[in-house]
Symmetry: C2
Subunit: 403 residues, 2 copies
Amino acid sequence: MSLELTAVTAPLAEAAARLVRLLPARSLHASPATVLLSADAGGLTLAASDAELSVRVHASATVHTDGAVVVARRAFADTVAALDAPEVRLAVEGSRLAIRTGGGRFALPCLDAATHPSPAGEPPLAGTVSGAALGVGTAVAGAASRDGALPIFTGVRVRAEGDRLAFVATDRYRMAAASIPWQPGPMAGGAWTERRADEVGARREGRQRLSGPGARVSGASADQHGPGPAGLVPGALFAEVCRQASRADEVRVYASGDRFGLAWQGCTVVAASLAGPFPDRQLDALLDVRAECVVELGADELAAAVQRALPYAGPHGRVTLRASDGVLQVSGRDPQSGESEEAVKASVRGDHLSAHYQARFVLDALRPFAGGPVTVSVQEAMRATAFTAPESALTYLVVPMRA
Amino acid sequence: MSLELTAVTAPLAEAAARLVRLLPARSLHASPATVLLSADAGGLTLAASDAELSVRVHASATVHTDGAVVVARRAFADTVAALDAPEVRLAVEGSRLAIRTGGGRFALPCLDAATHPSPAGEPPLAGTVSGAALGVGTAVAGAASRDGALPIFTGVRVRAEGDRLAFVATDRYRMAAASIPWQPGPMAGGAWTERRADEVGARREGRQRLSGPGARVSGASADQHGPGPAGLVPGALFAEVCRQASRADEVRVYASGDRFGLAWQGCTVVAASLAGPFPDRQLDALLDVRAECVVELGADELAAAVQRALPYAGPHGRVTLRASDGVLQVSGRDPQSGESEEAVKASVRGDHLSAHYQARFVLDALRPFAGGPVTVSVQEAMRATAFTAPESALTYLVVPMRA
């Protein structure tokens, strides 16, 4: 192993931090928590993997000696993050990767490159989206389940539909969905689309939302009515990818049968799609909101009122929203805790409905709309309540609690 | 029960928050987590207790109806903290204390006043200190143990000595001590001093630090050589008291045989002293530092270097400090993690000693000196290393680790 280079500290630290954040803090798969540093005329590439996830990040560097070395990735990231020197020199010295600044030398043991998983190449390009638009994916991923007992609900469903890319996540108590502009890539006119067209042709009647031209992100998953042109991305990974990519102008999306990839600003993530049938049709039906009562108000004002009702929300954290003339009443009631009632100014159209909710789900639903207006669409009976906003691609559904 | 008043929201919320922070979040004693609100011409008093701790906080209010009511204290504090209205009205309405603003009503059940512990009166005044000087007590309390297995080490030892009030806390691996100016109160010339003088007379030879005139905070505890004129205050309580009182001009200290009290800015805390012999003599001896090597440098620069050594500090988090000409070398070394070495500019006097330390203890020791210089006094063999600063009342000792 050899390697010698000089780099500006801040972007190197940023690259290492991105890599660490995209990989699980604790691996379930006993993957070695290593990073492969590869230096050549193009600069430095940091690559790491965990199970079926593979991450590569590029960093600018002045490379004196081409080469590669494997070291512990968190120790490397922590070391470069803590440096206060503006420039840093990396060099393999015997069995160590030395990280040198004017006053300090930090020497990480070089690890066996054979135990480092080889980085996966990305599948074919499927299309592109804007990073700013992709940012909404973090809010969608927030509605995914953290409970591994039902793995499909820990994922974000990603589907390309014509010139839109749609995301859906749900833990079965709330659901978030968004659709952003999608520029199909070269694959859209190739074998991939043909295969998709066959599927859609066979199922046109049953699944209106899947009609029209477009590419798909992955075909590994399927709803319970048969295989569908979509992928299921682990929620925590998708949240972090969307957070990082939201600063990029353009994000490239790669897809094949059972793998997908995203690339932005020198960073490439390739992962396996979660397996399992996803109930697309049922979830699509939930998005067909028929509001009996539409309430428009400030998201922050409503969130503050729900926060104030929390001490009165009882052991199940239940708050009641009740629409009346020009106000939304937010109330809590519990034999032990007492009662609260507060009027929040709102524009109210339609019937004056009321419903009970788990307070934290309402707060989660309002968070992506913070600082702006939110439209609360209440449906009859126990159908979900929708939180939307004119300027947002996001629809957040919260299922009411029974009285 | 009755009561009706109007108050400015912010100071009322501040008073309730102070009260809640001074009491344990979870009581070990099954004390009801209630607050007694008492209103009269003087304003509103909030009083609450837990086991042998009693807290009273005053808040300005325009009282319309004198009276008192008992409610759940965290729900009360959370409710007034979350209000966005500038004024609030409190009124007993039937079985509820109603907290009203323009748009909202928050109704807490009135609880049985008989189950609320009656607030303790404070013991006689022992003396006064300045709030700004008392602030150092929070740093001292940070060295107390969190491990209840040795209860005396969970406390901060407080002793009045002439015109100084001294604090010591230790978990046996590190120790913090400070001494601040002390103005003895009327008790200093009364029965208390006489009793104290008797005790000191009997033990003058053995305990030099206890000679000279002065009051004591409490006489409940004693070192292993007999009863001593001092108190032992629970560490978490002392940290919070010093944090809050550091903004006050003057803090009054009350003391009797086994209780102590502090009062500042409308807030009064009375508590029982922790029982048990405290090893005053041994700890005083540790403060007699005979440095072989004195290193002066910036606290932040040293803390940053220790942070950078952490990834190399191994499973026991061990760093080495080694003095040489004009620098303090900070290093870590571990077969798994690798090695680090960094030079931090310093003024070094005396022998060039080196010693190993638990990194987090060094970081804890440096935190109170953040933003300024620190003097590191290394003693020979395994004697503790002292961290001090010219402008600080604090001495923080860290015991080195064996090689």
